[in-house]
Structure formats: structure tokens, C-alpha cells
């Protein structure tokens, strides 16, 4: 098989639309254009039926009790905002303390920041060096004012999978609600809202080969019944939780993407794990000073986050410009700060600058992995030949012993 360029290995950022998803969506752009809220004619009924079927499929993906527990949103950022702000506002009489972690997505962290300005207190529990949050640390952070714990299922940078199961036992016992940002994990690692005692969960379609611009918030309806204050006012859609005309074609696509994962997710995860290990073994075999970031096993099957010591991440990405990956290097962010996730895991800043995230997905092939493995290995060697730090390392000079002048 011939390779097609550029090669996409950034499947944590977004995934390509599965052709089967597109096919399912198309009729809802044309003949089935109705508004799902139109209760008085066939156009509306058709749209509403499609949306209700979609709710059931998405509920099945996470083992929710009912499709009625699915609130459609514009994406996971909105879902995270709605979960945190909606819960904080509704339960303010009960308490004002939220527990989350330092490695959450900005949609959670920045929602917390805003809530702090409005009188909430937030505890940010750090992850360990392996990127895993210790459930005991969550337990210790709880107070009698705690109303919510918010933690991600899997981290978007280092792919570590958090012990939701154990955290769910703690929160349930303490009567605290548990919100899980499940965007990166669903369909790739087991996620069962009932078995894990999850009360709210954010989901996104475009991370699972569905369309962009649509997501959902799972809101538990019984034991306990979770209540929210809507953050978007209007026609009272989604049982009053989120106003706005539903994006029917995208919701249908979201459901189709979920259905594919229900059927093929486990096999796909195995395939991705194989490809990931193939790439990692190649680097380990051919390069010195390559460090795996995150946990060796407890991570998303398609995630490989590595630091190629003494080579800067953006410089390396430029050398492999026909391959789409991402880096924790400051140069890739507008803030000129390297990844806060890697830093909060205790990684040295230079190693954060040297990190590359390979995100393997459904459409990657073994040929692509072998090509990328060879290419990256060669370019790392070339860039190390140009790196003063590599030269020092080879002369036995510890770069930490040098007094660098920050600029």
C-alpha cells in the first residue's frame, strides 16, 4: 500500500469523520431538515425521532439507564461548563467546594477559575509523576462543603486513564456528585456510568470519528437525581437544561459514531495498542534518552507521549512536517509556556519542551507507523548532531549543573 501524505497522527486533537457517519448524517441536511422541537407536523416528528434514537445509542455507549439522561450541547467545552457551573449554582445552598485535578482540560480549569471569583473554593489535586491521580488524595480533599468532584477519564496529553471506579466509590459514599470529562476515553477504555457511580459525564462527537460542534452531558436522573441550573436561556430545550434548536444532522452523526464504537471499540483498541507499541519499541531500540511520559500501561491505546531529550519539540515537528503530531513545547502554544500538564506531573521544563504526542487512530496503518518511526528516528539523530545539549551530554556534562540565564 502506498502512503498518502500528510499522515495524520493527532487523533487526540480531533478525528476524521468516519464515512459511515457522514452517510448517516446526509439525509438530515436535506429531506429530513425538520426542527426536533416542532411538535405539530411530520417534519418535526421525524427529527425528534432521530434525536431520541440518538439519545438511546449514546446512553448505551456509557451504560446510562436512559436516553433521557443525555443533554445535547455544542461540544465538550460547553458540557464541562454546564456541569460545573450548573451544579455549583443549583447546589450553592448545600456547599461551595469543588475538587478537581491540575491536569484537567482548560474547559474544566477555567470554569473552576470563574467559580472561584463567584465565591466557590476549589481544590486542585495534583497527579503523580506517572500522570495518575491517587483516589486517596481526592478523598483527603473532600470537606463537608464539597458538592462536586470533577476529573477526566483519560488525559488528552499523556493519555493516562484515571481510577474513576475507585473515585466513584468515595464520592458516592460521601454524597458528593462526580463529574467525569470522558471526552478522550469513551469507546477506548471501559466507561460505565452506573458501575462507576458517575453522576455527570461530558462527551464529544469529533473525538470519536463524528462531526465537530456537537457533544453531550450525561446527567443522572436517579439515585441520585442530579439537578442543574441551565447556563443558556431560551426555549427550554433538553428538559430545560440547554436551550437552543438541536443540531439534528450532527446528533445523528454522533449516534452513528457511538454505534460504531459499541460494535468495534474493543477490537479497535487492541489494534491501536499494537500500533502504539510498535512505534514505541522502534524508538526504544534505535534511540538513547527517549522518555515515555505518563503511565506505561494505564493509558489510552493510541497515545504515545515521549520526550526526545536534547531535541526541541517544535524543531522536531518542523523536520517531520508531513506528519501531524503535537508537542508540549512552548513554541506550539500562544503563551510561550510549555505544557501545564507535563509540568504539573513534575517533568522538568526542558523535557516538556522536548515532548511529542503521537495520537494514533482508526485510520492509521502499520505502514504509516513504520514510516513515521523511521523518519522520527532519523530526524532526532540529525537534530541531536546540531544540539549543543546533546554534545554536552555526550561529554558527560550534566546540563543541570550549568547556570543558565533564563530569557
Amino acid at each position: 500500500m502506498t502512503l498518502k501524505f500528510p499522515i495524520y497522527m493527532d487523533n487526540h486533537a480531533t478525528t476524521p469523520l468516519d464515512p459511515r457517519v457522514l452517510e448517516a448524517m446526509l439525509p438530515y441536511f436535506s429531506e429530513h431538515f425538520g426542527n426536533a422541537a416542532s411538535r405539530t407536523h411530520a417534519f418535526g416528528w421525524r427529527a425528534e425521532a432521530a434525536v431520541d434514537d440518538a439519545r438511546d445509542t449514546i446512553a448505551q455507549l456509557i451504560n446510562a439507564e436512559s436516553g433521557k439522561e443525555i443533554v445535547f450541547t455544542s461540544g465538550a467545552t460547553e458540557s464541562d461548563n454546564l456541569a460545573l457551573k450548573g451544579v455549583a449554582e443549583y447546589y450553592q445552598g448545600k456547599g461551595n467546594h469543588i475538587v478537581t485535578t491540575t491536569i484537567e482540560h482548560k474547559a474544566v480549569l477555567d470554569s473552576c477559575k470563574r467559580l472561584e471569583k463567584q465565591g466557590c473554593t476549589v481544590t486542585y489535586v495534583p497527579a503523580g509523576k506517572d500522570g495518575i491521580v491517587d483516589p486517596d488524595d481526592i478523598k483527603k480533599a473532600l470537606t463537608d462543603k464539597t458538592i462536586l468532584v470533577s476529573i477526566m477519564l483519560a488525559n488528552n496529553e499523556v493519555g493516562t486513564i484515571q481510577p474513576i471506579d475507585e473515585i466513584g466509590k468515595i464520592t458516592r459514599e460521601k454524597g458528593v456528585l462526580l463529574h467525569v470529562d470522558a471526552v478522550q476515553g469513551i469507546g477506548k477504555t471501559p466507561f460505565d456510568v452506573r458501575a462507576m457511580n458517575v453522576d455527570l459525564a461530558s462527551l464529544s462527537a469529533h473525538k470519536i470519528y463524528g462531526p465537530k460542534g456537537v457533544g453531550a452531558l450525561y446527567v443522572r436522573r436517579s439515585k441520585p437525581r442530579v439537578r442543574l441550573v441551565a447556563q443558556m436561556d431560551g426555549g427550554g430545550h433538553e428538559r430545560g437544561n440547554r436551550s437552543g434548536t438541536l443540531n439534528v444532522p450532527s446528533i445523528v452523526g454522533f449516534a452513528k459514531a457511538s454505534e460504531i464504537l459499541i460494535q468495534e471499540g474493543a477490537a479497535e483498541a487492541e489494534k491501536l495498542r499494537g500500533l502504539r507499541e510498535r512505534l514505541w519499541k522502534k524508538f526504544q531500540r534505535e534511540l538513547d534518552q527517549v522518555i515515555l511520559n505518563g503511565h506505561p500501561e494505564q493509558r489510552l491505546p493510541g497515545n504515545l507521549n515521549v520526550s526526545f531529550a536534547f531535541v526541541e519539540g517544535e524543531g522536531l515537528m518542523m523536520a517531520i512536517k508531513d506528519v501531524a503530531v503535537s508537542s508540549g513545547s512552548a513554541c506550539t502554544s500562544s503563551s510561550l509556556e510549555p505544557s501545564y500538564v507535563l509540568r504539573s506531573m513534575g517533568l522538568d521544563e526542558d523535557m516538556a519542551h522536548s515532548s511529542i504526542r503521537f495520537g494514533l487512530g482508526r485510520f492509521n496503518t502499520e505502514e504509516e507507523v513504520d514510516y513515521v518511526g523511521d523518519l522520527v528516528t532519523g530526524k532526532v539523530k540529525k537534530l541531536r548532531d546540531m544540539s549543543p545539549l546533546w554534545e554536552m551530554h555526550q561529554q558527560g556534562i550534566d546540563i543541570k549543573s550549568i547556570q543558565w540565564v533564563a530569557h
Partner: protein, 131 residues
């Protein structure tokens, strides 16, 4: 962010990568930047008795713009007198490479590297003169 053609050209075919003997009295070495900031440049010059930079070498840990800035810097200073080289401004490097605002610090680092190498060379010469 797209790179300018000149950055790509210098990045793909960097000029004057390498190492000069740090202990050679006619060699000046500048090491600037910090690993924690994501860029470190080492620029070296070899100066003739008449004060002309005969050779220049660099090694850089950094992004494409940092590598291109150092490559361009070595190209420009070769054949210049030490005094002429000391007059090179970061803005000239940034302009030549069409660096976007977020990459201006790469050109600043290159100017610092030139100055630091010259300073090292002058210090060495002064010590030699006193000996």
C-alpha cells in the same frame, strides 16, 4: 503558524553547524539561552590576527526559527571584523527571516550569541596580552 521560505531553507540546509576548539586562543564561544526556555544557542567564532572572523560555527537546541537565526548569524559574521559583527542587530535577523512576533526572541538570542562569543574572544585576548 507557517514558516517563511528563508526559515525553511536555513532549517533544512543549515550553514556552519559544528564545533570549534574552545581552548584555541583565537576562538570565542558564546552559549546563551536555557533548556527550560526551550532554546539554547552555542555560537563560536575563530578570529584571525587582523581581527577578521575567519570561521563561525553553531549548535542550537530550539525550534526551526532558532536554528535558522543561528545559521544566518554565522553566515553573516563570517568575513566581517569583530567590530562589524558586534554591530549586527536582532531586528536585521528578524527582518531577513520574516520572523513573526512570537519568534522575535529567536533573533534576540542570535544577537546575544554573537555578542557573547565576541566577549569571550576579547576576554581571552586581554588575558593573553597581559601574560
Amino acid at each position: 503558524m507557517a514558516y517563511s521560505e528563508k526559515v525553511i531553507e536555513h532549517y533544512e540546509n543549515p550553514k556552519n553547524v559544528g564545533t570549534l576548539d574552545q581552548n584555541d586562543p583565537s576562538v570565542g564561544t558564546g552559549l546563551v539561552g536555557a533548556p527550560a526556555c526551550g532554546d539554547v544557542m552555542r555560537l563560536q567564532i575563530k578570529v584571525s590576527d587582523s581581527g577578521v572572523i575567519e570561521d563561525a560555527r553553531f549548535k542550537t537546541f530550539g525550534c526551526g526559527s532558532a536554528i535558522a537565526s543561528s545559521s544566518l548569524a554565522t553566515e553573516w559574521i563570517k568575513g566581517k571584523t569583530v567590530d562589524e559583527a558586534a554591530g549586527i542587530k536582532n531586528s536585521q535577523i528578524a527582518e531577513e527571516l520574516s520572523l513573526p512576533p512570537v519568534k522575535i526572541h529567536c533573533s534576540v538570542l542570535a544577537e546575544d550569541a554573537i555578542k557573547s562569543a565576541i566577549e569571550d574572544y576579547r576576554k581571552k585576548r586581554a588575558t593573553r596580552g597581559n601574560a
